[in-house]
């Protein structure tokens, strides 16, 4: 037991007290299991222990460890916890109006994990989320990939990478949202020009740092903005790029070619127009499907058919809520709307799990039900793509963080008086009663 914990720490999984609480294996039996990593298992067993998945397979051939607690999950569906590659929960704030490019800004310094919307995301079955600042800037700050554990403070939700850094990306945008009065750009070409200018500076800064060869006397003065961009240039921080219109999508691909950063295209309303170009560039997409086109000029051609078009083109794509553009509690609905417009069932479910794990570089620990991965999974009342299906339970690293049978959790799931109260207020109120 101690060894698996040690191993978990060594490979970089966060050693969170909540996960340690699970001292005994738990086996879920009788469920229809959608492992994503392989075909559906009609009568499956899932065993979790110490915050990790120990076994997953058919009832006939999967050994349940002695002493395991058994949970009867007959009639239910189990699938990996959902991964949202673009969300704005937890009262996130990013850059201010002083400049269009602010790579020194960290959402880390703004998040409130007791925000009711974190609970609502758990109620929607989301276990990992990329929490981002907004799209009103060319670059609005450093994002965070969060595990939606039941936490008191932001540190409880962070994901530590093997090298000790905190997992997260960089939010950028082009198109119309970032076009504003000076010092913001007024045109698309100016937007690209301002970004290129900063990348050139960052390359120069990076080269000076390298030339110093570890000699602190020769190092340039620290520049937090350029440091952020150097992380991008070195591929340590994926760019999550808001981009809707086809010309803006192609601009991102052009800049990527010039500077070599790692990028994921986000929203991508016009994906159906340039699916082949996106696939050929090998650039992943984080897609949003909305109830109707428009709401702004760059989203006027948003179509439910985009998902199927990307599938046909062979591009890697996941979905995102963009919460509050869409509600985290309805994330599975987006995958289903993709199917409505021609997407395969397999890619729809892949798009809310494994595809986003790859997009966030977390594919070794989340996104599918496989032994050794984090015990992040959800129990559903029925087929994941049906309007009538409910998320019954959400588990993160072996700890249950949402239970529809619990009245407090139920409130967050359906709404009502108090459902928008942040966690702290709610519990304090209860304590006083």
């Amino acid at each position: 037991m101690w060894f698996s914990k040690l191993l978990a720490c060594l490979v970089g999984v966060s050693c969170v007290p909540l996960a340690w609480a699970q001292q005994k294996p738990v086996a879920f039996t009788g469920a229809r299991i959608l492992p994503i990593a392989g075909p559906e298992i009609p009568d499956g067993v899932l065993v979790v222990w110490g915050g990790r998945i120990v076994a997953v397979g058919p009832a006939s051939s999967t050994r349940i460890p002695a002493g395991a607690a058994r949970v009867d999950a007959r009639g239910k569906v189990i699938m990996p916890g959902l991964i949202d590659s673009h969300s704005h929960i937890a009262s996130v704030e990013g850059a201010d109006a002083s400049a269009p490019i602010q790579p020194d800004i960290r959402v880390l310094d703004s998040l409130d994990v007791r925000d009711a919307r974190v609970q609502k995301a758990q109620a929607g079955g989301i276990t990992t989320a990329n929490v981002m600042p907004g799209s009103g800037h060319l670059l609005s700050g450093q994002t965070l990939y969060l595990k939606l554990r039941d936490g008191r403070v932001i540190d409880d939700l962070l994901i530590r990478l093997p090298d000790g850094r905190i997992a997260g990306g960089m939010k950028m945008a082009n198109g119309t949202n970032s076009r504003r009065n000076a010092p913001f750009p007024g045109t698309r070409a100016k937007s690209a020009s301002l970004v290129r200018e900063q990348y050139v500076k960052a390359m120069d800064y990076r080269d000076k740092c390298r030339q110093a060869g570890g000699d602190t006397a020769k190092m340039p003065a620290r520049d937090l903005r350029l440091e952020g961009l150097v992380e991008v240039l070195e591929g340590k921080r994926t760019v999550h790029h808001h981009t809707h219109a086809q010309q803006d999508i192609l601009t991102v691909l052009r800049l990527r070619k010039e500077f070599g950063f790692k990028v994921v295209l986000h929203h991508v309303s016009d994906a159906w127009k340039v699916a082949d170009e996106i696939a050929r560039a090998g650039t992943p997409v984080s897609l949003i499907l909305i109830d109707s086109p428009g709401g702004k000029i760059e989203a006027r051609d948003n179509r439910l058919e985009s998902a199927a078009a990307l599938e046909r083109a062979g591009a890697l794509f996941g979905f995102h809520t963009d919460d509050g553009i869409t509600d985290s509690r309805l994330f599975l609905r987006m995958a289903a709307l993709g199917v409505r417009a021609g997407l395969s069932r397999e890619k729809a479910l892949y798009g809310v799990t494994m595809a986003n794990a790859i997009i966030l570089d977390l594919q070794d620990r989340v996104g599918s039900l496989e032994p050794g991965k984090d015990a992040d999974f959800i129990l559903l009342s029925g087929d994941p793509l049906s309007v009538y299906t409910k998320v019954l339970e959400t588990w993160v690293e072996g700890a249950k963080v949402f239970d529809r049978a619990n009245p407090k959790d139920y409130l967050y799931a359906v709404g009502g008086h108090g459902a928008s109260h942040d966690q702290a207020d709610f519990f304090e109120l209860e304590d006083w009663q």
Binding site: D291, P293, G295, K296, L385, V387, G415, S420
Partner: protein
């Protein structure tokens, strides 16, 4: 580009205006669903409805088939046709901010039959919309009822002036330094205006005042006042004013309705419930996906709406809102009723639309499965006996 088949259907149906729709299940909303049912449409009206075994299809009728057939859906409150999909100043006609109360603004002077969102909701089976001036001012203007396919406003219009739209609570607050700045001020201003309108109606002065004239039918109890109101205290304020002036009130949105069910029930006022999947926060912090089910259980008349959206997406689709209500406590047929016959009754247009009964308008929606399922499709839409959409959506 219009597909040849669709064009052919348009031509054929326009010429003959005779259609025979056969459905594995036909939800007439006037009695039990009919298994293997047939709906005959002639000259724009429903001619006959019944089991296919008993309804002979006369020759020359265009045959259409679907797994599920329902009346054309009714969106009990939307702003499509006024709030354009691009969301730019030039296409936002649902609110005018020069004054807090402008009941004289008519929806028919703003409605755009060609607006993309009208076509969008039509594709999902929505054939009738109650649309017009939106929430956001104490009195924003009038609403209208329209069919979603027509060459111009005159032909689209079912009811040119359906209600006068008002808003109470935070959404009606004027800019800093202007009135109304508080909730109490909103009520004071509203009462003052209603008193003026009443006096205007009694004295009938020579100089016409379009503003007071527009409120005339409201104070006479002929035209409903549609009050968009979310918080419980504001719902009670709306009821208080409604009773004081003997208004025909319709509570709209009503996120907190589930907290004041007894009071709403006692008032006798119907509710057009907020979109089931609406975003919570601010005025709507307490909204619930179960509000429709709770109103139903309390015996309060209600219908569903797509509401108003200020950003992306620019409108919701009432079909999907009904689906969410069906997934959150309403029975399937109750949810369907809330976007068909119950909506028609609430809007006072049930002699024309809302159910599949002989003599009513030939408005029909076709689906290839449970209409509420995310993965089902609307496969055909008929309005006034014409096939207006055949795109699988």
């Amino acid at each position: 580009m219009m597909r040849p088949l669709l064009l052919l259907l348009f031509v054929a149906s326009a010429l003959r205006a005779q259609i025979a729709v056969r459905g594995d299940t036909v939800y007439t909303m006037a009695g039990a669903p009919v298994k293997d049912g047939m709906v005959l449409i002639r000259e724009g009206k429903i001619e006959r409805v019944g089991p296919a075994s008993q309804v002979r299809t006369p020759s020359g009728y265009l045959p259409l088939r679907a797994r599920i057939v329902t009346p054309g859906l009714i969106d009990a409150h939307t702003v499509v046709g006024l709030t354009g999909y691009l969301n730019q100043p030039h296409d936002q006609e649902q609110i005018e901010r020069s004054a807090p109360m402008q009941p004289e603004l008519r929806a028919i002077d703003a409605y755009d039959v060609q607006e993309k969102l009208v076509e969008w909701v039509r594709g999902f089976g929505v054939t009738t919309i109650h649309t017009g001036h939106g929430p956001g001012a104490l009195i924003s203007g009038q609403t209208m009822i329209a069919k979603t396919a027509a060459p111009n406003t005159e032909r689209a219009t079912l009811v040119p002036a359906a209600m006068v739209a008002a808003t109470l609570g935070g959404l009606a607050r004027a800019d800093q330094g202007k009135s109304p700045g508080t909730r109490a001020k909103m009520i004071a201003m509203l009462r003052t205006e209603l008193l003026k309108a009443r006096e205007y109606g009694t004295k009938k002065p020579k100089d016409r005042d379009l503003r007071l004239e527009a409120l005339g039918p409201v104070v006479e109890g002929k035209l409903p006042l549609l009050v968009t109101v979310h918080r419980a205290p504001d719902i009670l304020s709306a009821i208080r004013v409604g009773k004081e002036f003997n208004l025909r009130l319709v509570l709209d949105g009503a996120a907190d309705a589930h907290m004041v069910l007894e009071e709403i029930k006692a008032s006798g006022y119907p509710v057009i419930v907020h979109p089931t999947m609406a975003r919570s926060g601010g005025e709507t912090a307490n909204l619930s996906m179960e509000t429709a089910a709770k109103l139903r259980a309390s015996g309060i008349p209600f219908a569903l709406q797509s509401g108003f959206e200020s950003y992306v997406p620019k409108t919701r689709v009432v079909l999907w809102e009904a689906g969410a209500a069906a997934a959150n406590g309403l029975k399937f047929e109750e949810a369907l009723a809330s976007v068909t016959i119950d909506a028609a009754r609430l809007l006072g247009i049930d002699s024309r639309v809302g159910s599949l009964e002989p003599g009513k308008d030939g408005d029909v929606a076709l689906y290839d499965g449970d209409p509420f399922e995310y993965t089902s499709h609307c496969t055909g839409v008929i309005i006034d006996g014409k096939v207006v959409s055949e795109t699988k959506r």
